[in-house]
Symmetry: none
Amino acid sequence: MTPNSERRSDRAREAILAAALELTADPGFQATSVEAIAKRAGVGKQTIYRWWPSKGAVVLEALGERAGQTLEFPDTGDIVTDLRTQMDGVAELLGNPQFAGFAGLVGAAQSDPSLSRTLIDGIIGPRVAACRKRLESAQQAGQLRDDVDLDEVIELLYGPIYYRLLFRTRPITPDIATHILDLAFAGLRPPTDPR
Amino acid sequence: MTPNSERRSDRAREAILAAALELTADPGFQATSVEAIAKRAGVGKQTIYRWWPSKGAVVLEALGERAGQTLEFPDTGDIVTDLRTQMDGVAELLGNPQFAGFAGLVGAAQSDPSLSRTLIDGIIGPRVAACRKRLESAQQAGQLRDDVDLDEVIELLYGPIYYRLLFRTRPITPDIATHILDLAFAGLRPPTDPR
Amino acid sequence: MTPNSERRSDRAREAILAAALELTADPGFQATSVEAIAKRAGVGKQTIYRWWPSKGAVVLEALGERAGQTLEFPDTGDIVTDLRTQMDGVAELLGNPQFAGFAGLVGAAQSDPSLSRTLIDGIIGPRVAACRKRLESAQQAGQLRDDVDLDEVIELLYGPIYYRLLFRTRPITPDIATHILDLAFAGLRPPTDPR
Amino acid sequence: MTPNSERRSDRAREAILAAALELTADPGFQATSVEAIAKRAGVGKQTIYRWWPSKGAVVLEALGERAGQTLEFPDTGDIVTDLRTQMDGVAELLGNPQFAGFAGLVGAAQSDPSLSRTLIDGIIGPRVAACRKRLESAQQAGQLRDDVDLDEVIELLYGPIYYRLLFRTRPITPDIATHILDLAFAGLRPPTDPR
DNA sequence: CTGTAAGCGAGACGGTACGTCGAGTCTTCAG
DNA sequence: CTGAAGACTCGACGTACCGTCTCGCTTACAG
């Protein structure tokens, strides 16, 4: 994939990533061609193919660089507060027009196993792992039912955010994390129905 | 869709939808070309373009026809039972390899506003509306907190299913509905922490 | 070819021939489609295919109807005069913009043997035969060298007209027949060089 | 033709011209598609469209390359001999099955003004000019009537050859030039009729 | 005077080729 | 020896027509 070397031009790399982000935001992910990225970056097509296997990989790297801060989970001792902090970050990112390419990227990953791998391993996986670790400590601290599968908890919390992202039934609003956490932690059952 | 007539050939229509489903399942949505659908269906390309605006619209219609049963919500009086019934149907559908194209379709909709509209209006919307109606009656029956936004409840319940579908972190298993409903209705907070 | 009947609609036939002539004159022969002829004639495509085997055959018939008068050779006793009369008619016809489709028709016949047959048998052949007959009588009357092949004479006289038609190096002018006949009958050799 | 460069692949160019000649000879000009030329040449369609505006232009160039020798007129001092030399070459070329595409090309030029221009400027024109020059010198040498329009002489000599080519009333035989020159120079009038 | 069978207008159908776009590879030249 | 430029092969795009095939709908003659 990468023709080993440190002779790689940083200028080219950054121009490519920047062009990818811009085009992915405006004409959209599918409507963006490698050719267009190369032209806007003032770069030969070969320079892109030399370092990345596909358009998706370029965009993924570009987005990954801008998503750094959502990787870490704080630990204030209160799991709901900590989740809210991180989820607010995620919501802000996904609501940002600059990040609009992400949905298309997820779509493209459906038909491109290697892109799917890169997406899961590079972006989703580390966040899931970090979240899981924080949830485990919360469970030990008695802030979480201990009969629940933590991976299912993660799906319950983040699923709704991605649902809005992909189906665009309504925008991702800043208060989304608060609302999800309220529903998820308190449950949907009315207080007067302890069943 | 565009020309008007009852002169339309049913044979062609059905062959196209069947071919679309098959190809969408095996080589995958993005890897399927209109040309390939036409060839497998034994049909001229023009016949596809005459009735559908894009590959996505064809696949959408094909999938939509096979998803009929998930549109209705039963009403046994118990909201959790009824949700489980419908969500089991959804899970079975999305877990079915024949339906593998759906994820790609959602992806494609990210960059195609008109496809996105068709997806929301034709598939997602009606199911959301039916679900909402059932939730409203449950709320009135006192089986649901009445301080919750029902659209958020829907996102909470279905988000996790689509999360698995799109990120493929793990397969959609038959028990997914049961687990989601347990978490969502009982809440994540431990019983000993009434807060 | 023809589905025997006198039930044939004259209105349709004439509308088709007229449309063929018009389109063949303006967008040109190659640029005219059967579909366009049908539309302009206000006729179904099938009605064309019912009575003619190809676009070329339609145009041929349309042109043939307008070329009737060039079929006959007068016989005033002077071969040059008679040739001039007929050739003037041919030149007038081929120079007429309404007849512009003829060149394209000749072109199309190059790749369509059955059209070629129809062209030769229906248009060219009869005129060649009539011309040959007149030349024979001229030869017997001693107005023509009797060591010449009459078919070659015909080619010598008409070739130059078609040459201008097809290569468009310059237009077919009204005096073309006079000039050709002068050159051909008097010969190119200077009078002072009886060789 | 349109893009600029010496980066052009000679291999591709020659393969295309060769394929064009072959296909033009066998299935014929009209029956040959750009697609078929590309496939036989082992070349992408785009490579054809990059350098030529149409199928006709490709075939024209291919034929032009093989017709080089008919461009020059010898000058032995005797105009009839010199004309015969060149016209024999033309007849041989046009009678050659490898050149069968030429008739179709002339036909196609009838409906394509730019192809017509290329045909006249690239093939016909230069030969006409060369012939005219030789005729002029013959006229000065007293071997040709000096009251004749040389362009009409050219049409008189070459028209018959093209007449046979296009109307296929009979094949172009090797002796055609001799016969035409005999008729044209001696004239059609019987020697006993000096009129 | 009313079936019924033909020609008619219309236009959908299975196809082929069009001319264009972009993918990913290969080649040339400059720094 | 990387990087820009861009020509190359290839495959799909969406469109235009091809020639064939139903569809009703006149018409016109046969019972």
